[in-house]
Symmetry: C2
């Protein structure tokens, strides 16, 4: 069947995108825009029931819609569930088991939505034929949404990932074969740092094991799906291991240094860019702050409103600082709102963080926002809520560029003190500037590196020379259990033989001695 | 004491070099030339008794001479010892123990020469004061020659390494904290690849253990030296772990992909460059080869002559191919030399390998030469002799770009067949070209990356953000032995408590039952 495809004849390469929604999309969007700027054709493959993808796609890229049976409200419910999970069971040592059990339940909902999308593509022969006909050179998938790899394999094209991380690095470790020594690599989501006490190392070890256990049961179901689609016994993990390149959305300004592999490229902050001038009215408000400067406040794209009580509590803290505050907030105007605080439906966050008058950033701790703060060297007050946010803020705290305030238990004074600390204690600004210098001082900018590897995979039809041979080993071979067993058996045999020989010689001499004595 | 220093006032940075001799020097020299081109001052600190360093330094860089009591002939003897070691005990599974024992002896000689150099610097207060006064920004050391790190610490400046590798990656693993899973990372010097059979994995595991054992005893002596110089209990390895950056002289065109850390930068082939035109007479000889092209033959800078018999055997093989041969050879002209073969005291190797008429490269397998062949996409015949050469050729064989001939046992026909294979079987040229494409297709050229990190360390006075926290852990903490012990103790206690409780309940019920029965 011959159908139209969206590869314009003048383009260099033809890229298919399998995105994840929400803030993930905001990050990958920058990569797509750059690919288009460099004259590649880009097609996004996603369901119509997306939060941000479809609405912000049409303007610049071809959107290939996948018919699904779930609705946007199902996704919203899942996000509510996720926020509630973190609010109720933030992983302390005592609540770890409950947390990971609840996370398992969340995966169940996620699985149902995800598999619906997979079926929507893979069982749709018209759509698959259309995609086949388009001659894509590479598929870029965010593996948070499963099946991108499967689509690439069915189309016979190389694929690569863009990923923030998986809980406890389960996917990177098991499928990507990245080593993560549990003694100094804090499990993602654990809120630990690379400097751990004995107790923290115990917690970290348990986080890895528990997360592995949850994922194993989650994987089990995907394994049969993947085997059915590919028509041979396989696993999700084996398939994911075929990714040519893993574009990781962090770097060593944000992440604690840890081992990685040649096909992992750390491109954190690829979406950051210099600040543009602010809208006139906003600039006037900012300038009116005088020498005190401003504070930028946003809880990100996923959380719309706060309870009225919480909003009042926050507003009253903000009212007490000499800085002017720009707060992205859609809810009811809090009664305690100070004259120094102005509410906005939306703010040009990057441009504000890059403004010379900005003194601090109050953030929920999303990766994108934190990277913008790092880029511009702005200290942070973290109000983390769910997913990677508590972990992200823990990183910034450890690096001395942020103070955390607990959203659940905070009083007005906590937020006020935190703000005063990051604004008045010069170490926070210095540390934020240090991270900024690290971020800016790389041989190649993150976005250019990401695009380089996309183009590399297109040029060479893969990047097999970067793929470790660990992928060809079973788990017991990988851990050398067979070799260790064999060497132990050798040692045991040697000891046995020597002992037997000694016994034999001893008995012979004793007998000879006795015999001689008798003679 | 105020003494003259060699930092010219217009320079950007002031770099001190602690080099290793021989081919190591030829590699690092390229880096120095580039640093000078970028307006940095460079001072080389080495003994006057060097093979290549002093003679090739004076022209372009300041040479700071260290008085020592050994002579050039001591170094020559050590190299002869090294060649003999490989010729006699090339590490087969059966001779591994002997090989590593002999390698230990070689380390002993090396230790004597090296410590003489260390004393020559560190005990020389005039020299140290002079160096102190020069305000160096960074020291770049080849850790093959020990003590560079110590000099840097005494001068209070950051240091970085340039390294090909250490046997079985002992230094990289123990001091650099790089993980190397024994199941797929072949031990350097083992001549294994990343695809290993069970027997090979056993050999690999033993190579790691034996090498660790040898190094432990070698380190023991350095540990006390380092503790004495620094005036506190320390180890060689702990000191080496303070290196800001490790510039590794390989890349994934040459090396099998394996785990590494953020402060390891793989800059293999940084010395490679496009070919320059050949001298007129040589170009005429090359052109006279017609469509058959030429073969380039060199056994490197360390081996001067062959036995007359071996040279005749080689010459007679060369005489039988239709190609013209350019052979770098200083010995007596072999009786069997064909009219197609011309001998040279020295050849412009890189320019010849980059010549369009070149069909093959006969090489001893030094890293520098192999990289020039990769750069220009030339298939190889390997005649490896010692050190990393057999391993290097094993890599090129595994990647399908070389055939190996055993220098000890070869007949004329072996070399002839090998040459015919790499020239006439197109797969060798294709594979060499594939490696070449990988080499050329990097986001930043190796030399530029190396210079970037030298300048980075100077700009930021180090690169601490790339240093893993593993350096702060003891070996049992690193391997989580304390955590595993604790968790096992917890499990054992739990089992004990449950068993005790069951026993208690059981006894109580049994007793109650019996009592009731009696009543």
């Amino acid at each position: 069947m011959q159908v139209a495809c969206y590869f314009s004849s003048g383009s260099c390469g033809n890229v298919l995108i399998w995105p994840a929604d929400g803030s993930h999309w905001l990050n990958i969007k920058t990569l797509l825009e750059e690919l288009i700027r460099r004259n590649h054709s880009v097609t996004v493959l996603a369901s119509s029931e997306t939060l941000l993808i479809k609405s912000s796609t049409a303007a610049f890229v071809h959107f290939e819609e996948v018919p699904v049976s779930f609705t946007k409200s199902n996704i919203d419910e899942m996000i509510e569930h996720m926020i509630a999970l973190w609010l109720d069971h933030r992983p302390t040592p005592l609540s770890m088991w409950t947390f990971y059990k609840e996370l398992g339940k969340l995966f169940e909902t996620f699985y149902q939505i995800n598999i619906n999308l997979c079926d929507g593509v893979l069982n749709n022969t018209t759509l698959m034929a259309k995609l086949q006909n388009c001659g894509f050179n590479v598929l870029i998938a965010d593996p948070t949404t499963t099946c991108g790899d499967l689509v690439a394999l069915k189309l016979g094209i190389p694929f690569m990932y863009t990923l923030r991380y998986s809980p406890a690095f389960t996917v990177e470790r098991h499928c990507g074969k990245i080593p993560a020594p549990v003694s100094y690599v804090p499990a993602a989501l654990s809120e630990l740092t690379d400097q751990m006490s004995f107790g923290e190392r115990v917690k970290n070890t348990l986080s890895y094991y528990l997360q592995d256990y949850i994922f194993q049961s989650y994987w089990g179901r995907w394994n049969s799906y993947y085997s059915r689609v590919l028509g041979r016994p396989t696993t999700l993990c084996e398939t994911m291991g075929k990714a040519e390149i893993w574009l990781m959305r962090t770097y060593w300004d944000f992440e604690f240094p840890r081992p990685y592999l040649p096909n992992f490229e750390f491109v954190g902050g690829l979406h950051c860019k210099p600040a543009k001038p602010l809208p006139k009215e906003m600039e006037e408000f900012v300038q009116s702050s005088g020498e005190h400067g401003i504070v930028v406040f946003s809880l990100g794209s996923m959380v719309k409103n706060l309870t009225e009580e919480k909003a009042c509590l926050i507003a009253s803290a903000l009212a007490q600082i000499p800085q002017k505050v720009l707060w992205r907030y859609k809810g009811k105007i809090p009664a305690t709102l100070g004259s120094n605080t102005r509410l906005f439906d939306w703010i040009p966050q990057n441009d504000l963080l890059g403004h010379p008058k900005t003194r601090a950033f109050i953030t929920h701790g999303g990766t994108n926002g934190i990277y913008e703060a790092i880029y511009h060297g702005i200290p942070m007050v973290g109000l983390p809520m769910f997913a990677d946010q508590p972990d992200n803020i823990a990183h910034m705290k450890a690096k001395g560029a942020a103070v955390e305030v607990n959203m659940n238990t905070m009083e007005s004074v906590d937020l006020l003190n935190a703000l005063r600390t990051v604004i008045n204690d010069p170490s926070y600004k210095e540390n934020a500037m240090r991270l900024s210098r690290i971020h800016h001082d790389q041989p190649v900018k993150p976005l250019d590196r990401a695009v380089f590897w996309v183009e590399f995979v297109m040029r060479h039809k893969g990047a097999k020379h970067l793929r470790v041979a660990a992928h060809d080993l079973s788990w017991f071979q990988y851990h050398s259990l067979d070799v260790i067993g064999f060497l132990l058996a050798c040692v045991a045999s040697a000891i046995f033989l020597v002992a037997k020989s000694c016994l034999f010689v001893f008995q012979k001499f004793v007998k000879t001695g006795k015999k001689k004595k008798r003679d």
